[in-house]
């Protein structure tokens, strides 16, 4: 089996790719997907820690997995609301390109 280091590295790599996507992409839906990817990468970290910290009963620490469960729930709610906002935004502005959404320019 792979070591904790390897899992954490993969997790970090996925997080970095997601971050890069958020930073370079201009389609707000794709940015949103990248955000989800970053969340999942964080989940992988949690699960890895859970597996590598066995408790007195010799089983993984399930507190970490419960946290992952919560994160997934919150992410689902977030996606629902976020996509609704994007739809409302598109209705108002006919665009999903963040470079066109600069009405907050100072």
């Amino acid at each position: 089996m792979a070591s904790l280091q390897e899992y954490l590295f993969v997790s970090g790599l996925l997080f970095a790719i997601g971050l890069a996507g958020v930073l370079v992409r201009r389609n707000i839906i794709v940015i949103f997907m990248c955000l989800e990817l970053m969340l999942s990468a964080a989940n992988l970290t949690l699960v890895a820690f859970s597996r590598f910290n066995t408790g007195p009963d010799g089983l993984p620490d399930y507190n970490g997995q419960v946290l992952v469960f919560f994160i997934i729930t919150v992410a689902a709610a977030e996606v629902a609301v976020g996509l609704a906002i994007i739809v409302a935004l598109y209705r108002a502005r006919q665009t999903v390109d963040v470079e066109d959404l600069t009405s907050m320019r100072g």
């Binding site: 792979a2 954490l8 993969v10 739809v87 598109y90 209705r91």
Partner: protein, 220 residues
């Protein structure tokens, strides 16, 4: 053998992630994301987190992904067209910042123990649970004990046990569980549902529908 699987699925997830960022067409990006999440789910399963892995597939690769694709279809989005010149600063920043982040990660990783995980000795765990239950003078054997005795990992039951807590001797609470956060998350989902409905409501008072509004196309 297990190591090979790890690298295979890690590579799958990373390539999917890269494809997600690289594709211009949002539908392709969404599909790449599904692939990446499938790889991630496999990694979860390799970590003996079967429940989380399944949830990952069902919720992310299933429900959320469908939502994304549905919205992309609804808005009829095409591949990005370079309407304005792309600001190179963003590209530099977008590459540079994740790179620095990775370098920082590599700086931290050596401090993490580079060891294989302890293999799970399910029979011993079963005995541990048996002792616990005997102390609590429970006549009946729990599901967890039964599964563990059979050599299975009942992680759904164990997550449930962690989430809802359990009581030890003389009704003393051994682990408090996450009952309250669970309620809060339930409320959060309710609020999200109501919020989405509120966001999607069209104002009836506004006069003419705006051009380009997908909902305002003339009825056939």
């Amino acid at each position: 053998m297990e190591g090979l699987f790890f690298y295979a699925f890690s590579g799958f997830a990373v390539i999917g992630a890269l494809a997600l960022v690289a594709f211009k067409n949002p539908v392709s990006s969404a599909m790449s994301m599904v692939a990446s999440f499938l790889g991630l789910a496999a990694l979860f399963i390799s970590l003996n987190a079967y429940f989380v892995g399944i949830i990952q597939i069902l919720v992310y690769a299933g429900a959320i992904m469908v939502l994304f694709v549905f919205i992309i279809m609804l808005l009829d989005l095409k591949a990005e067209e370079r309407k304005t010149k792309y600001n190179p600063l963003f590209l530099v920043g977008g590459v540079f910042i994740p790179l620095v982040f990775l370098i920082q990660l590599c700086g931290i990783l050596p401090h993490v123990p580079n060891a294989e995980p302890e293999p799970l000795h399910l029979k011993e765990s079963a005995r541990y649970f048996y002792d616990q239950e005997k102390e609590a003078s429970k006549e009946e054997q729990s599901e967890i004990h039964k599964s563990l005795s059979k050599g299975d990992l009942p992680d759904v039951n164990l997550i449930g046990l962690t989430m809802f807590g359990h009581k030890g001797d003389n009704e003393t609470i051994k682990t408090p569980g996450y009952n309250f956060p669970l309620q809060i998350v339930g409320v959060l989902l309710l609020v999200a549902t109501v919020g989405v409905v509120a966001l999607s409501l069209r104002k009836k008072t506004t006069g003419e529908p705006e051009p380009g509004d997908p909902d305002s196309r003339p009825e056939p």
